[in-house]
């Protein structure tokens, strides 16, 4: 039962074959069985989830109206505030933090009658690409336990891949939904900047952060996006635009369809125009991406080689913009209002320094330091403002691409899931694993990763599709065209 998609589980409840309580018990069993090895969850809501499921079943029995996700367990990255429930952001500094309110997305999920089954592991404050930066535990990839699930939403991605839940929520500041989705063989979507309210999301890089769905397939991802997207006056960056019913048009192909393939993401077959990035691409991934493009060609799409000339600078821009914003956002952890306070200190400033020094992990400190440096007097023009100018050039590259293409397609990540510990000693090497995903956050555009194959060693490969701002519906439909022709999304990891 746990291998079913969310949509199938909804159908079976409607038909009277399954109850919310039986579904929730099955997923809780699965968590009990496999999480000691996977470590995807930081907190599991056994009693509350079962109680909620029984309430949903009672509502159904009484013939009351039910929400779009009625009776479906969902796992949420531990960076979204849950009222009265511990929320840690994977950090020691928040180990006892119990939010006094729900994030907007949590309210939306509750209104849709979804059941919160647990909070998932993540890189501390969403800073990382492997979930190894969690202060609590290392999450393992369900396809190969010695490998990372990617990050920073690695717990959410691993939980879906391992069928510990059929739906999960992640956040994406530089690729943190799409890259783990690729590493774990599932669907993960970062919506446009402004599509989903961040109210109650513990902030990292506020001009980049977005919340999005992780699921087995596109119908489930579309359904979850439908529930969480839309205006919320409590996030002033959340736009007031109607939310399409993404599930409704999902099976309608986009015709005609022009797909832009950037030479910076995928070297041209003749070898010309291979940028520094394309050159670092794993050959097995390159083969899988070309196979996916062949699927689209067989469906009548036009494949157009394009260039995003400033994309090679995206990582450098990101590590100035994101860290500058982080250094400001994380200033609130001062040992005064919430979070840990050091036990011994000499005066106020020393209390702040010691609380932060003890509460933050190495990567968080590194990013706060880099951001503080980039914003400090004498460097702000050369680093921060320069980065914002190149950011505009990156956005303009995309604007030009979308003037002549419906979508841009390439790999989600340059390599399949890497080994636990492989990149922890070299922060820059870790940063480079986000090379294809990061520019979407800088430009504010939506992006999705879908399964498109496996390496010979059995590791999943992700195809990334990017679109113009607020074209989520088109992205999902284009992705669905590939999904209908393939069955990669139906594979489940062989856990024992």
């Amino acid at each position: 039962m746990t291998d079913l998609t969310a949509t199938e589980l909804l159908q079976k409840q409607a038909a009277g074959d399954l109850t919310a309580a039986s579904i929730t018990s099955a997923f809780l069993n699965r968590i009990r069985q496999y999480d000691p090895a996977l470590r995807a969850f930081l907190h599991v809501e056994e009693a509350a989830a079962l109680q909620h499921a029984e309430a949903i079943d009672a509502k159904r029995k009484a013939g009351q109206p039910l929400g779009k996700l009625a009776g479906l367990p969902i796992a949420v990255k531990d960076v979204l505030c849950t009222k009265g429930r511990r929320t840690t952001a994977g950090s020691k500094i928040l180990q006892n933090f119990v939010p006094p309110y729900d994030a907007h997305v949590i309210t939306r999920l509750k209104d849709a009658d979804a059941i919160l089954i647990g909070k998932t592991n993540m890189d501390e404050f969403a800073m990382g690409s492997s979930t190894e930066n969690s202060a609590y535990q290392v999450t393992h990839n369900p396809w190969a336990l010695d490998r990372t699930p990617g990050g920073s939403s690695g717990g959410s991605a691993a939980a879906v891949a391992a069928s510990q839940t059929s739906l999960a929520i992640g956040t994406d500041t530089g690729g943190s939904i799409r890259q783990p989705a690729a590493f774990c063989g599932i669907v993960g979507m970062k919506p446009s900047y402004g599509r989903v309210s961040r109210f109650g999301l513990i902030a990292y890089g506020s001009s980049l952060d977005q919340i999005g769905p992780l699921a087995h397939d596109l119908r489930d991802a579309a359904l979850l996006l439908e529930v969480i997207a839309g205006h919320d006056p409590r996030d002033s960056t959340c736009v007031n635009m109607p939310v399409p019913e993404y599930t409704k048009m999902l099976d309608q192909p986009i015709k005609p369809l022009t797909i832009g393939v950037p030479v910076e993401f995928l070297p041209s077959p003749s070898g010309s125009g291979a940028g520094g990035e394309g050159a670092g691409l794993d050959p097995e991934i390159e083969t899988a991406i070309r196979a996916a493009l062949n699927v689209y060609e067989s469906l009548g799409a036009t494949i157009k080689p394009i260039s995003l000339p400033h994309s090679p600078y995206a990582i450098a821009v990101y590590y100035l913009v994101a860290t500058a914003e982080a250094s400001s956002n994380l200033a609130r952890y001062d040992g005064v209002h919430f979070g840990q306070r050091a036990e011994k200190f000499a005066g106020l400033i020393d209390m702040v320094k010691k609380s932060r020094g003890a509460g933050f992990g190495t990567e968080v400190k590194r990013r706060i330091m880099l951001g503080t440096y980039a914003l400090s007097s004498g460097y702000i023009d050369a680093y921060y403002l320069k980065a914002l100018k190149v950011r505009r050039l990156i956005r303009q590259d995309f604007d030009r691409a979308f003037a002549e293409c419906d979508v841009v397609i390439g790999p989600t990540a340059p390599t399949p899931a890497f080994k636990i510990g492989e990149k922890t000693a070299d922060p820059l090497a870790m940063y480079l694993s986000d090379i294809y995903t990061i520019s979407a956050n800088l430009a504010g555009i939506p992006g999705i990763s879908i399964p498109c194959g496996f390496t010979k060693a059995g590791l999943p490969i992700g195809l990334q599709i990017l679109g113009a701002p607020f074209t989520e519906e088109k992205l999902l439909r284009v992705a669905r065209m590939h999904e209908r022709e393939t069955d990669w999304h139906k594979r489940r990891p062989p856990l024992e």
Partner: protein, 96 residues
């Protein structure tokens, strides 16, 4: 370009982060490597390019000045490491 231990200590002070001596040494090496990588941005011609702080064309959002729901003092203070009555409690700000 490389950052000295003293520069690292200065930035740590600005960021209000206590670092051990070992942290300072590691940070100097790693930040130097990252700053070297980031310096490739100097190659990009950005003459006449406006900085892009945000992907959206944002306007200020106004609302009517009416009372809405808000947290009670107890809820707001529930996570405070130290409180006194309805206040956050901190060590003395001016001198010892």
């Amino acid at each position: 370009m490389s950052l000295s231990a003293d520069e690292v200590r200065l930035v740590a002070d600005l960021a209000r982060l206590e670092l051990s001596d070992a942290d300072v040494a590691d940070m100097a090496t790693q930040l130097s490597a990252i700053v070297d990588y980031i310096n490739q941005l100097q190659r990009v011609n950005t003459d006449g390019v406006e900085p892009l702080a945000h992907a959206l064309d944002l306007r200020d959002v106004f609302r009517d000045d009416v009372l809405g729901q808000s947290l009670s003092a107890d809820a707001a203070l529930a996570n405070a490491p130290a409180r006194k009555g309805d206040f956050y409690r901190v060590p003395p700000v001016f001198g010892e």
